[in-house]
């Protein structure tokens, strides 16, 4: 738990791992140094396409390559993927071309670049697209594993990675990490915390604090937002009878929205959602942003106590 790495580094490493497959190509929009595709570019310049600062073009160049048998991984900041949303919808998702889009620097955790750079809606918008898998891993190891798994997929994906370092939660090469399968990191009976991305480690801290107060919490790393692991939601809902979701993303439409949608059609387990409360961020350090936005372990713990009172 002590090692600290950014999920974007796991993405960059995975691209290098995938390079032995000659069909894997990388597309950049002048942010390869930031999204970490630069390592692939340096070793395989012939299979790296610079699209300049042109995200709309990048998405469709990737689509054209996918239609010709290649496996494109395109990356830029999460926020800039959004200007190519229609390209993702009509040019990638609709013809179901296996383009893998990675948006790095997602969430308010991105920090001092300020609100313009802090995508808090990416998971929500991509989740609405048919055929698109949406992933937001919690640490560098799972990012690396999930990215490599994407190369086997025959449909497109969106993955959000984070700029700043967070604790490494998994052992290298952990073969229990699979797209579409949430991971139960901790087993408890009083409340279940379902988290994604940078808030998984905050959820684990909250569970420690709750345990000290005599409350037993389950913690789930729900790295795949779509398709969401409904079986696991049902399992922890039945076991704990109260759920908290936690994400560095708008309270609208992301992980919390996906879990709420499912619970509303199953057993209606009480739910509290930790997320950005329908507002924009500002410049601040990552930890300061999590505090300001009400996303850190302290807030997750409070939400857990609140939802338990609703049982």
């Amino acid at each position: 738990m002590s090692r600290m790495e950014a999920t974007r580094d796991g993405y960059g490493q995975a691209l290098l791992d995938l390079a032995e497959n000659e069909k894997v190509v990388v597309l950049e929009a002048d942010l390869g140094k930031s999204t970490k595709s630069l390592h692939f570019r340096k070793q395989h310049p012939e299979r790296t396409v610079s699209c300049g600062i042109g995200e709309q073009n990048m998405l469709l160049v990737a689509a054209g390559m996918a239609a010709s048998g290649y496996i494109p991984f395109a990356s830029t900041f999460a926020i800039f993927t959004e200007r190519a949303f229609e390209q993702m919808r009509n040019g990638v998702a609709r013809p179901n071309l296996a383009v893998h889009l990675c948006g790095s620097h997602g969430g308010t955790h991105t920090g001092t670049d300020g609100s313009s750079a802090q995508s808090i809606e990416d998971l929500a918008i991509y989740r609405t697209l048919p055929n698109v898998t949406v992933i937001h891993p919690s640490d560098s190891v799972s990012t690396r594993i999930l990215t490599k798994e994407l190369a086997q997929s025959t449909s497109p994906s969106y993955m959000r990675t984070a700029r700043n370092k967070t604790p490494v939660l998994y052992d290298d090469g952990d073969d229990s990490i699979q797209i579409g399968k949430g991971i139960q990191l901790r087993d408890g009976s009083d409340v279940a915390i379902i988290a994604c991305g940078v808030l998984v480690s905050e959820a684990l801290k909250a569970a420690d604090d709750l345990e000290a107060a005599g409350i037993s919490a389950t913690v789930v790393d729900m790295h795949t937002i779509k398709p969401i692991d409904k079986d696991l939601i049902d399992k922890v809902a039945n076991r704990c009878g109260a759920i908290v979701t936690a994400e560095d993303h708008s309270i609208i439409g992301g992980l919390g929205g996906a879990v709420a949608e499912h619970l509303s059609t199953s057993n209606g387990t009480p739910l509290e959602r930790i997320g950005v409360a329908d507002r924009f961020g500002e410049s601040g350090q990552a930890d300061e942003m999590l505090e300001l936005m009400g996303l850190n372990a302290k807030h997750i713990e409070q939400a857990a106590r609140k939802v338990m009172s609703r049982k």
Binding site: S50, G54, L60, S68, P72, Q87, R94
Partner: protein, 287 residues
Amino acid sequence: MKGHPCWQLFVGDTMTTADELREVARACRVHIVDMVYRAQAGHPGGSLSEIDLLTALYKTQLNVRPNEPKWNDRDRFILSKGHASPGMYAILAEMGFITVEDLESYRVLGGICQGHVDMKWCPGVDFSAGSLGMGLSFGMGSAIAARLDKSPRQTYVMLGDGEIQEGSVWEAAMAAAHHELGNLNVILDRNRIQNDDFCETQMRMFDIPAKWKAFGWNVMEIDGHNMEDILDGLKFLSTSNDGPSILIAQTIKGKGISYMEDNPSFHGAAPNDEQYALAMKELGVSQ
């Protein structure tokens, strides 16, 4: 069922003379008007402006196999102005990718001839179009893939002139020249009319050839209804391999149907019964 009985003037890929191409284009025009009339919806104007170009391209230039539409080394044609789908469906039928009967499915639930051309629905279609400004980027990806494959296959993209008002077209134009994609060829259907009115009233585009030259493209201008001119233009595209090339074809929206020609009302409107009869008469079809 409204419309002219389905029929086909030519089958096969051996036609090369300008006269023969003109005859295929005439048959395609009949298909186009039939499709839009039957559906009572669609885009006849841009289909009629592009059809001489598409006819020559498919009949003399594209290396494709109608009986093997997914053949890996086929040339790719990307109709970026995907609303002008009747034109593409017409030539696909004349080539034998689809049947003339298939044309009756245009805009019909479950039909392979979707409102905008769609690679998931129709054999011979390599790009799912719809939103303007997307085809050139997709074509660029196709051209890069061909280069990585060390394949001689060519990519052809047809753009509309109104379409190049989309900013992403210029992202692609800049990128294609940067990557020196000599296997990427564009035909611009310069029919001077877009949805609401003449382009000139919606967004003046000034010197279009100069813009493409400035972006690093090989440029040639032709009359997009003169078959000899078109064949010269296609030769230019096939011999300009040092970078991306564009054929700027001056065309007439609605070409071939008197009341549709140069008429913004027929960008996206179907003829009524009387207009349909007149169109057939002008196309030499006896009723």
